[in-house]
Symmetry: C2
Subunit: 122 residues, 2 copies
Amino acid sequence: MSVSLADLRGRDQALFSDGCPTRVVLDHVMGKWGVLVLLALSDGTQRWGVLRRSVAGISEKMLASTLKTLEGDGLVARTAYPEVPPRVEYALTDRGRDLMTRLIPLVEWVADNADDIVGGKA
Amino acid sequence: MSVSLADLRGRDQALFSDGCPTRVVLDHVMGKWGVLVLLALSDGTQRWGVLRRSVAGISEKMLASTLKTLEGDGLVARTAYPEVPPRVEYALTDRGRDLMTRLIPLVEWVADNADDIVGGKA
DNA sequence: CCGTATCCCAGATGATACTG
DNA sequence: CAGTATCATCTGGGATACGG
Protein backbone atom coordinates (compact mmCIF):
# COMPACT_ATOMS: atom_id res chain seq x y z
CA MET A 1 0.00 0.00 0.00
CA SER A 2 2.84 2.38 0.85
CA VAL A 3 0.91 5.25 2.31
CA SER A 4 2.40 8.40 3.67
CA LEU A 5 3.70 6.46 6.59
CA ALA A 6 6.99 8.13 5.84
CA ASP A 7 5.46 11.32 7.15
CA LEU A 8 4.88 9.67 10.46
CA ARG A 9 8.33 8.18 10.46
CA GLY A 10 9.79 11.56 9.81
CA ARG A 11 8.84 12.58 13.33
CA ASP A 12 9.82 9.44 15.04
CA GLN A 13 11.90 6.59 13.74
CA ALA A 14 10.76 4.27 16.48
CA LEU A 15 7.04 4.52 15.80
CA PHE A 16 6.40 7.19 18.42
CA SER A 17 8.60 6.88 21.43
CA ASP A 18 7.21 5.39 24.58
CA GLY A 19 4.94 7.86 26.33
CA CYS A 20 4.82 10.44 23.56
CA PRO A 21 1.59 12.42 23.03
CA THR A 22 0.57 10.39 20.02
CA ARG A 23 0.58 7.17 21.99
CA VAL A 24 -1.30 8.77 24.84
CA VAL A 25 -4.09 10.05 22.64
CA LEU A 26 -4.11 6.81 20.69
CA ASP A 27 -4.75 4.96 23.93
CA HIS A 28 -7.57 7.28 24.90
CA VAL A 29 -9.30 7.07 21.58
CA MET A 30 -8.61 3.44 20.84
CA GLY A 31 -9.24 2.13 24.30
CA LYS A 32 -11.97 -0.40 24.89
CA TRP A 33 -14.57 2.25 25.68
CA GLY A 34 -13.27 5.38 24.01
CA VAL A 35 -14.31 4.34 20.53
CA LEU A 36 -17.74 3.23 21.61
CA VAL A 37 -18.50 6.40 23.54
CA LEU A 38 -17.30 8.59 20.69
CA LEU A 39 -19.41 6.54 18.33
CA ALA A 40 -22.47 6.99 20.50
CA LEU A 41 -21.89 10.73 20.54
CA SER A 42 -21.52 10.94 16.79
CA ASP A 43 -25.29 10.56 16.71
CA GLY A 44 -25.45 13.97 18.32
CA THR A 45 -25.79 15.34 21.83
CA GLN A 46 -26.62 12.68 24.38
CA ARG A 47 -27.57 12.62 28.01
CA TRP A 48 -25.71 10.49 30.53
CA GLY A 49 -28.48 7.96 30.85
CA VAL A 50 -28.76 7.53 27.10
CA LEU A 51 -25.05 6.97 26.76
CA ARG A 52 -25.09 4.41 29.50
CA ARG A 53 -27.73 2.40 27.73
CA SER A 54 -26.32 2.97 24.30
CA VAL A 55 -22.88 1.66 25.12
CA ALA A 56 -24.00 -1.77 26.23
CA GLY A 57 -22.04 -3.28 29.05
CA ILE A 58 -20.24 -0.18 30.26
CA SER A 59 -20.26 0.43 33.98
CA GLU A 60 -21.04 3.82 35.48
CA LYS A 61 -17.49 4.07 36.63
CA MET A 62 -16.00 3.48 33.21
CA LEU A 63 -18.48 5.79 31.53
CA ALA A 64 -17.57 8.58 33.91
CA SER A 65 -13.90 7.89 33.54
CA THR A 66 -14.02 7.66 29.76
CA LEU A 67 -16.05 10.83 29.42
CA LYS A 68 -13.67 12.71 31.67
CA THR A 69 -10.67 11.58 29.66
CA LEU A 70 -12.26 12.52 26.38
CA GLU A 71 -13.37 15.84 27.80
CA GLY A 72 -9.83 16.47 28.96
CA ASP A 73 -8.63 15.74 25.45
CA GLY A 74 -11.01 18.34 24.09
CA LEU A 75 -12.94 15.80 22.08
CA VAL A 76 -16.13 15.88 24.11
CA ALA A 77 -17.95 18.82 25.67
CA ARG A 78 -19.98 18.47 28.85
CA THR A 79 -22.90 20.76 29.62
CA ALA A 80 -24.69 20.65 32.97
CA TYR A 81 -28.06 22.30 33.40
CA PRO A 82 -28.90 23.63 36.88
CA GLU A 83 -32.23 21.90 37.04
CA VAL A 84 -33.98 19.42 39.24
CA PRO A 85 -33.65 16.64 38.43
CA PRO A 86 -30.19 17.22 37.01
CA ARG A 87 -29.65 17.12 33.31
CA VAL A 88 -26.23 16.78 31.74
CA GLU A 89 -25.50 16.57 28.07
CA TYR A 90 -22.44 15.40 26.24
CA ALA A 91 -21.51 16.27 22.68
CA LEU A 92 -18.56 16.06 20.37
CA THR A 93 -16.46 19.19 20.03
CA ASP A 94 -15.31 20.39 16.64
CA ARG A 95 -12.12 18.48 17.15
CA GLY A 96 -14.08 15.43 18.15
CA ARG A 97 -16.17 15.60 14.99
CA ASP A 98 -13.02 15.97 12.96
CA LEU A 99 -11.64 12.86 14.57
CA MET A 100 -14.78 10.93 13.76
CA THR A 101 -14.28 11.53 10.05
CA ARG A 102 -11.24 9.30 10.39
CA LEU A 103 -12.52 6.94 13.03
CA ILE A 104 -15.86 5.99 11.51
CA PRO A 105 -14.45 4.54 8.29
CA LEU A 106 -12.22 2.35 10.39
CA VAL A 107 -15.09 1.15 12.55
CA GLU A 108 -17.13 0.44 9.47
CA TRP A 109 -14.33 -1.69 8.09
CA VAL A 110 -14.09 -3.59 11.34
CA ALA A 111 -17.84 -4.10 11.45
CA ASP A 112 -17.76 -5.40 7.90
CA ASN A 113 -14.90 -7.81 8.51
CA ALA A 114 -15.37 -8.83 12.11
CA ASP A 115 -17.53 -11.85 11.38
CA ASP A 116 -15.01 -13.26 8.94
CA ILE A 117 -12.15 -12.61 11.29
CA VAL A 118 -13.66 -14.05 14.43
CA GLY A 119 -15.43 -16.87 12.70
CA GLY A 120 -12.10 -17.98 11.31
CA LYS A 121 -13.53 -18.30 7.83
CA ALA A 122 -12.40 -15.97 5.07
CA MET B 1 -21.17 15.43 10.60
CA SER B 2 -23.89 12.80 10.25
CA VAL B 3 -21.91 10.04 8.65
CA SER B 4 -23.28 6.69 7.69
CA LEU B 5 -23.38 5.72 11.30
CA ALA B 6 -26.91 4.70 10.61
CA ASP B 7 -25.49 1.77 8.69
CA LEU B 8 -23.76 0.61 11.79
CA ARG B 9 -26.81 1.15 13.89
CA GLY B 10 -28.79 -0.94 11.51
CA ARG B 11 -26.98 -3.99 12.76
CA ASP B 12 -27.03 -3.18 16.39
CA GLN B 13 -28.98 -0.51 18.18
CA ALA B 14 -26.79 -0.73 21.23
CA LEU B 15 -23.50 0.09 19.50
CA PHE B 16 -22.45 -3.52 19.09
CA SER B 17 -23.59 -5.73 21.89
CA ASP B 18 -21.15 -6.79 24.55
CA GLY B 19 -18.79 -9.44 23.22
CA CYS B 20 -19.85 -9.22 19.60
CA PRO B 21 -17.22 -9.80 16.88
CA THR B 22 -16.90 -6.12 16.11
CA ARG B 23 -15.90 -5.30 19.63
CA VAL B 24 -13.47 -8.18 19.76
CA VAL B 25 -11.66 -7.14 16.60
CA LEU B 26 -11.80 -3.52 17.66
CA ASP B 27 -9.99 -4.45 20.85
CA HIS B 28 -7.33 -6.38 18.97
CA VAL B 29 -6.65 -3.64 16.49
CA MET B 30 -7.08 -0.71 18.81
CA GLY B 31 -5.24 -2.14 21.76
CA LYS B 32 -2.15 -0.42 23.05
CA TRP B 33 0.19 -2.48 20.88
CA GLY B 34 -1.96 -3.65 17.99
CA VAL B 35 -1.89 -0.32 16.19
CA LEU B 36 1.82 0.13 16.64
CA VAL B 37 2.71 -3.34 15.40
CA LEU B 38 0.43 -2.99 12.39
CA LEU B 39 1.98 0.38 11.70
CA ALA B 40 5.46 -1.09 11.84
CA LEU B 41 4.42 -3.78 9.39
CA SER B 42 2.93 -1.31 6.95
CA ASP B 43 6.52 -0.50 6.05
CA GLY B 44 6.73 -3.99 4.62
CA THR B 45 7.89 -7.38 5.80
CA GLN B 46 9.81 -7.23 9.05
CA ARG B 47 11.79 -9.64 11.14
CA TRP B 48 11.08 -10.20 14.79
CA GLY B 49 14.13 -8.33 15.96
CA VAL B 50 13.32 -5.33 13.81
CA LEU B 51 9.78 -5.18 15.10
CA ARG B 52 10.98 -5.36 18.66
CA ARG B 53 13.21 -2.36 18.14
CA SER B 54 10.77 -0.50 15.96
CA VAL B 55 7.92 -0.63 18.44
CA ALA B 56 9.76 1.11 21.24
CA GLY B 57 8.95 -0.09 24.71
CA ILE B 58 7.20 -3.31 23.82
CA SER B 59 8.23 -6.40 25.77
CA GLU B 60 8.94 -9.72 24.12
CA LYS B 61 5.85 -11.11 25.74
CA MET B 62 3.54 -8.48 24.36
CA LEU B 63 5.12 -8.59 20.93
CA ALA B 64 4.61 -12.33 20.76
CA SER B 65 1.10 -12.04 22.11
CA THR B 66 0.14 -9.20 19.80
CA LEU B 67 1.56 -10.92 16.73
CA LYS B 68 -0.27 -14.11 17.58
CA THR B 69 -3.55 -12.30 17.98
CA LEU B 70 -3.14 -10.42 14.72
CA GLU B 71 -2.10 -13.60 12.97
CA GLY B 72 -5.17 -15.32 14.33
CA ASP B 73 -7.26 -12.47 12.97
CA GLY B 74 -5.76 -13.00 9.56
CA LEU B 75 -4.22 -9.56 9.49
CA VAL B 76 -0.61 -10.64 9.76
CA ALA B 77 1.22 -13.55 8.14
CA ARG B 78 4.14 -15.29 9.81
CA THR B 79 6.84 -17.04 7.80
CA ALA B 80 9.54 -19.10 9.49
CA TYR B 81 12.63 -20.12 7.57
CA PRO B 82 14.27 -23.40 8.61
CA GLU B 83 17.68 -21.88 8.96
CA VAL B 84 20.31 -21.56 11.60
CA PRO B 85 20.14 -19.11 13.15
CA PRO B 86 16.36 -18.92 12.85
CA ARG B 87 14.79 -16.26 10.71
CA VAL B 88 11.13 -15.35 10.97
CA GLU B 89 9.37 -12.69 9.00
CA TYR B 90 6.07 -10.99 9.55
CA ALA B 91 4.02 -9.19 6.94
CA LEU B 92 0.54 -7.79 6.51
CA THR B 93 -1.95 -10.00 4.73
CA ASP B 94 -4.21 -8.56 2.05
CA ARG B 95 -6.82 -8.03 4.69
CA GLY B 96 -4.26 -6.36 6.89
CA ARG B 97 -3.28 -3.97 4.14
CA ASP B 98 -6.92 -3.20 3.52
CA LEU B 99 -7.32 -2.36 7.17
CA MET B 100 -4.35 -0.05 7.07
CA THR B 101 -6.01 2.12 4.45
CA ARG B 102 -8.50 3.02 7.16
CA LEU B 103 -6.17 2.94 10.11
CA ILE B 104 -3.36 5.12 8.81
CA PRO B 105 -5.47 8.23 8.20
CA LEU B 106 -6.65 7.95 11.78
CA VAL B 107 -3.15 7.62 13.14
CA GLU B 108 -2.04 10.58 11.08
CA TRP B 109 -4.83 12.65 12.55
CA VAL B 110 -3.83 11.64 16.04
CA ALA B 111 -0.18 12.40 15.34
CA ASP B 112 -1.17 15.82 14.03
CA ASN B 113 -3.37 16.66 16.98
CA ALA B 114 -1.70 14.88 19.86
CA ASP B 115 0.52 17.77 20.89
CA ASP B 116 -2.41 20.15 21.08
CA ILE B 117 -4.49 17.67 22.99
CA VAL B 118 -1.94 16.65 25.55
CA GLY B 119 -0.35 20.03 25.89
CA GLY B 120 -3.73 21.46 26.73
CA LYS B 121 -3.22 24.30 24.26
CA ALA B 122 -5.42 24.57 21.20
C1' DC C 1 18.22 -15.32 16.56
C1' DC C 2 13.49 -16.37 17.81
C1' DG C 3 10.85 -17.10 20.74
C1' DT C 4 8.24 -19.59 25.22
C1' DA C 5 7.57 -20.11 30.35
C1' DT C 6 7.08 -18.13 34.80
C1' DC C 7 6.40 -14.92 38.30
C1' DC C 8 4.49 -10.68 39.72
C1' DC C 9 2.42 -6.21 39.92
C1' DA C 10 -0.41 -2.05 38.70
C1' DG C 11 -3.87 -0.37 36.76
C1' DA C 12 -8.16 -1.25 34.29
C1' DT C 13 -12.60 -2.87 35.06
C1' DG C 14 -16.81 -4.45 37.46
C1' DA C 15 -20.51 -4.50 41.23
C1' DT C 16 -22.68 -2.23 44.61
C1' DA C 17 -24.06 1.33 47.62
C1' DC C 18 -24.55 6.04 48.47
C1' DT C 19 -25.11 11.39 47.62
C1' DG C 20 -26.42 16.10 45.44
C1' DC D 1 -30.93 11.88 37.01
C1' DA D 2 -26.16 12.04 37.29
C1' DG D 3 -22.79 10.89 39.22
C1' DT D 4 -19.00 9.51 43.35
C1' DA D 5 -17.03 6.17 46.72
C1' DT D 6 -15.52 1.86 47.86
C1' DC D 7 -14.16 -2.72 47.49
C1' DA D 8 -12.98 -6.88 44.94
C1' DT D 9 -11.21 -8.73 40.67
C1' DC D 10 -9.01 -9.74 36.71
C1' DT D 11 -6.17 -9.29 32.90
C1' DG D 12 -2.68 -6.64 30.51
C1' DG D 13 1.80 -5.96 30.82
C1' DG D 14 6.87 -5.98 32.54
C1' DA D 15 11.12 -8.54 34.03
C1' DT D 16 13.59 -12.43 33.86
C1' DA D 17 15.25 -16.90 32.69
C1' DC D 18 15.31 -20.65 29.77
C1' DG D 19 14.54 -23.67 25.28
C1' DG D 20 14.92 -24.66 19.96
